[in-house]
Amino acid sequence: MLGRPSELVVYRSDGLPGYSKQPRLAVFPRTRDEVIAIVRLLAELHVPFVPRGAGTGLSGGALADDVVLIGLNRLTRVLSIDPVERLAVVEPGVVNVALTRAVTPHGLHYAPDPSSQAACTIGGNVAENAGGPHCLKYGVTLNHVRAVTAILPDGEIVQLGNASGEHDGYDLLGAFVGSEGCFGIALDVTVKLSPNPPAIRTLLADFMSIETAARATSAIIASGIVPAALEMMDGPTIRAVEASIYAAGYPTDAEAILLIELDGLAAGLDSDAARVEAMCADAGARTVRIARDETERARLWQGRKKAFGAMGRVSPHLVVQDAVIPRTRLPDVLASIHEIATRRRITVCNVFHAGDGNLHPNIGYDANDPDERARVHEAMREIMAACVAAGGTITGEHGIGLDKLDYMGLIFSDASLAAMCRLREVFDPERRANPGKVIPVHSCREWHGAPKGAWKDDCA
C-alpha cells in the first residue's frame, strides 16, 4: 500500500501524456483473496476506486483522481493451460506476451497483440477490448475471451461467459469486455488460444506518397485476401524509427511503407503474396520485398511495434491518437489530416492498422508550450470530426477513458449515452468503479421513459 504523495507520483499518469491525476492511495494486492477483501472493504466504505494493469493505456483510463488505485499487476499467475481445448485461465496481471510465451511449447499463441504487449496485462486488455496488428484477421480481445470471473464493485463475485463459448441469456461477458474498468475487476480470465500459422510471408512495400499506399491498402482489402496484418507508416515515422535503436531497415526516403503479413497453410500462400505484390506495384509502390527469414521478419516488426518509443526522440510529449474510418476512405481522410496538421502548424506522424482502417495519428509536441498545446488540442478535435464525418468512430482500440469524453457526443445521441449509463449502473449502481470515465457525466440524466424508481428494485 502506498499513501505518501512522493510514492504516488509514479501513478499520476498512464501511457497518455497530458493528463495527471494523483490517487489518494494505491494498493497492490498479491492474491485474489486480497483483491476481494479490498473491493469489499471499499464497498462497505462507499469509496470509489480505479483498477489498473500495467498503466500502458492510451486514453487516461487508469488515472485515479483522489480515489483509490488498485494495481492488479502482481496477480501474474497463469492458472491453467489446456492445449487440447486450446484454452488458458490467467490472472488479470499476466503480461500479454508472457501468456504467448507460456503456450509456445504447445504451438499456440494468444492472438490479440497490442504494440504494448511486452508490458500490458490481460486484465487491461479485457478492460479496453484491446486490438493489435494481427486483429485484422484474427479479431480483437472480445473474440478471444471465453469467460471472466469478476468481482463487482459491491463485492459480489460473478461468472460471465463459460469455457465452451456457447451461452444462453444475455451476453454479459460481451458487455464486460471493453467496459474500461467501470463494471468491476476481473479475478481470472479464460482465453482462447490460437494455433501458430504453419507458414508466414511478410512483405514490405514502399511508396513515394501516402495516397498511393492508401490506394494499395484499399485494393488489397477489396480483393478478398485477408492479410494477418496490414500496417502503414508514413515518412516522418519511418525516419524517426530509422534514427532510433529500433531501426528496421525501412527506406528513409519513402513517404509511406506498408508492412503486410500473410499467413496460413503453405499451399497457395506464395500466389497470394504475388497478388499482393502486384497490387502494391499497380498502386505505385517503388519496391516490394519479402522477408527472407524469421530474423528479417522480426526486425521489420520491431520497427513497427516500437514506433511510439522511437518518436520519443522527436519531441518531449506525444499524443497517440486512435480513430477508425471505413477503409475506402483512407486516401481522403489521410489528406484531411495532412491539411489540418499544416493549418494548425503541428507535426503528425501516422503509424496505424491500415487494413482495418484504424488510424493512429500521433502528434509530437511540447506540453509546456501553451500555444502549441492549444493548437494540438484543436487539431485533435478536427481530426476526430473528420473521421466521424467519413463514417468512422473515435476509438478503435484505446478506449474513451478521460481523453475522449468530449467526443462521445459526436457519435452517440443523448439517448444512447443514457442507455450506456444505465448499463453501467446495473453493474455498479454507485458508479464507484473508475468514476468519471467513458460516459460524460451530463449524459447520465434520468432515463426519460422509465418511471422513477422502476429499476431500483432490481439494481439497488
Binding site: 451476453d171 477489396a222 476509438t395 474513451i400 444512447s416 426519460h448
Partner: protein
C-alpha cells in the same frame, strides 16, 4: 407490469414458414414508426411480440399474452460500400436479399444460420443463431459491428457503428445480440462481410463403423486443412440429404485453387473422400422439420465423442437427427414432434441427466419449465432487463424470465 386485458397469443407458426402479413397496414417502415408503436404500447400497457418474417416464432419460450409488432416492412439495405466489406440494413431485411446483394459484389455475410436464408437479419442477431461456418468466422456476436434498437422505454439507442473496429462506449451491440428482443426492438444492424473465396468445395468423409469416429477426427484435426466448416452429420441426416446410409463428416474447403487442391489431397490421405453436392449446406440448414424440438449440446474437444453419442441417443429416442460443428464442439439435436408433442421416449431422454451443457432453441410449450431453467434469473440479467425494458413490454416470457 402485465396487460390488464388479455390479448390473443400470437399463433406459433413453424420454423421456415412463409412471412405472415409482412406488409400489413400500419406495419412500421422506419425506426421512428417502431418507436411510436412502442410508446403507444407503453401508454396502453400492452406488451409486444416482435415478429420479423415469422421463421423464429416457434423458437424460445412461449411469449405470454402480447400483440404482434410486424417488422416485415422494415426492410432494405441502408448502406453498402463493397470496398469497406461492411453493410448496414434494416432489421426486417431477409438474409436472402443480403446474400443476393453481396454475391453480386463477390462478397457474403458469413452467418448462414441454421434454418436457411428466409429469416431476417434482425432475428438472426436477436436469437444469436449460428450456422456451419461459425467455427471459422464466428457467431453473430463476432459479425455484428453496430445495432440500433428501440428500447422498452421508447428510446432509439445505438451501439457500435459502421466500422470493423470500435471500442467507443459500453458495448450495447453485444448486449442486444442473443437478447431475443427483450432489451430493444432491433431496427437496424451493421455487419462485417467477407469476400467470397475463389474456390469453394465440400467433400464428404463417410464414417465406417462407430469405432472410427475418434480416429477420423484425430486425423482430421491434425491434417493441414483450414476448413470453413467441419460438420459431422448423423446417419439419419445423411439419409435425408442422400449422402449415404451412415454418419458422415462434411468438410468445406475454400481459398485459391492451389490451397483447395492441397486440402483435398490432405483429406484424401485421411479417409475415403467423395464430393458432396453443391447445395449440401442449404439442404442441411433447412433439413429440420417445421415442428421439432431443437437442443444444442456443448461439450469439449476431449469429450466430443461422448457428447456425440449422447446426441445420437437423444435423436434416436425421438426419431430425429443430429449434426455437430466439430470446430466448436457443439452438437445440435433435432427431435420431430407429433401433434405438437415429443415422443414419450424423446421427452424422457430430454428429462434425463446430461453431462453436457444444453441450450434449447425450440421445445413444446409444456416442456420448458421442466427441462430448461431460465438463464436470466441472476441479478445482473434482471437489472439489464429492467434498465432497458422496465415495463416488461418486449417479448415477455421468451427467456423464461421471472415475471
Amino acid at each position: 407490469m402485465t396487460a390488464p386485458n388479455a390479448h390473443p397469443v400470437v399463433a406459433r407458426t413453424g420454423h421456415g414458414a412463409a412471412a405472415p402479413a409482412a406488409t400489413s397496414p400500419g406495419a412500421p417502415r422506419t425506426t421512428s414508426d417502431v418507436r411510436d408503436m412502442v410508446l403507444a404500447a407503453i401508454d396502453r400497457h400492452t406488451p409486444l411480440r416482435i415478429v420479423g418474417r415469422g421463421t423464429w416464432l416457434a423458437g424460445g419460450r412461449p411469449v405470454t399474452s402480447a400483440e404482434p409488432i410486424h417488422l416485415g416492412a422494415l426492410t432494405g439495405i441502408v448502406d453498402y460500400t463493397p470496398g469497406d466489406l461492411t453493410l448496414t440494413a434494416r432489421a426486417g431485411t431477409p438474409l436472402s436479399e443480403i446474400a443476393a446483394a453481396t454475391a453480386a459484389e463477390g462478397q457474403w455475410l458469413a452467418l448462414v444460420p441454421w434454418g436457411g436464408d428466409d429469416g431476417t437479419l434482425g432475428a438472426t442477431l436477436a436469437t444469436a443463431t449460428a450456422g456451419p461456418v461459425a467455427g471459422m468466422f464466428g457467431t453473430p456476436r463476432d459479425v455484428a459491428i453496430g445495432i440500433e434498437t428501440v428500447t422498452g422505454t421508447g428510446d432509439i439507442v445505438r451501439g457500435g457503428g459502421r466500422v470493423v473496429k470500435n471500442v467507443a462506449g459500453f458495448d450495447l451491440t453485444r448486449l442486444m445480440v442473443g437478447a431475443w428482443g427483450t432489451l430493444g426492438v432491433i431496427t437496424e444492424v451493421s455487419v462485417r462481410l467477407r469476400a467470397l473465396p475463389e474456390c469453394d468445395e465440400t467433400v464428404a468423409l463417410p464414417l465406417n463403423g462407430e469405432s472410427s469416429l475418434g480416429t477420423l477426427l484425430a486425423k482430421v484435426r491434425t491434417a493441414p486443412i483450414g476448413p470453413l466448416s467441419l460438420e459431422l452429420i448423423s446417419a439419419a441426416a445423411a439419409r435425408r440429404l442422400a449422402l449415404g446410409e451412415g454418419s458422415t463428416l462434411l468438410v468445406r474447403i475454400a481459398g485459391n485453387a492451389e490451397l483447395v487442391a492441397a486440402q483435398r489431397a490432405a483429406l484424401a490421405a485421411v479417409g475415403d473422400v467423395v464430393d458432396a453436392p453443391p447445395n449440401v449446406w442449404t439442404a442441411l440448414r433447412t433439413v429440420e422439420p417445421t415442428e421439432a424440438a431443437v437442443v444444442r449440446l456443448s461439450g469439449t474437444v476431449a469429450r466430443f465423442a461422448e457428447t456425440w453419442s449422447a446426441a445420437e441417443r437423444l435423436a434416436a429416442a425421438a426419431g430425429g437427427l443430429a449434426h455437430a460443428s466439430v470446430q466448436r464442439s457443439v452438437v445440435r439435436v433435432v427431435m420431430p414432434l407429433q401433434d405438437g408433442a415429443l415422443s414419450e421416449a424423446g421427452a424422457a431422454a430430454l428429462r434425463g441427466e446430461s453431462r453436457d451443457t444444453r441450450i434449447f432453441e425450440r421445445l413444446p410449450a409444456s416442456m420448458w419449465t421442466s427441462v430448461a431453467p431460465t438463464a436470466v434469473a441472476d441479478r445482473l440479467s434482471r437489472g439489464v432487463r429492467t434498465a432497458f425494458d422496465p415495463h416488461r413490454l418486449l417479448n415477455p416470457g421468451i427467456l423464461g424470465e421471472p415475471a
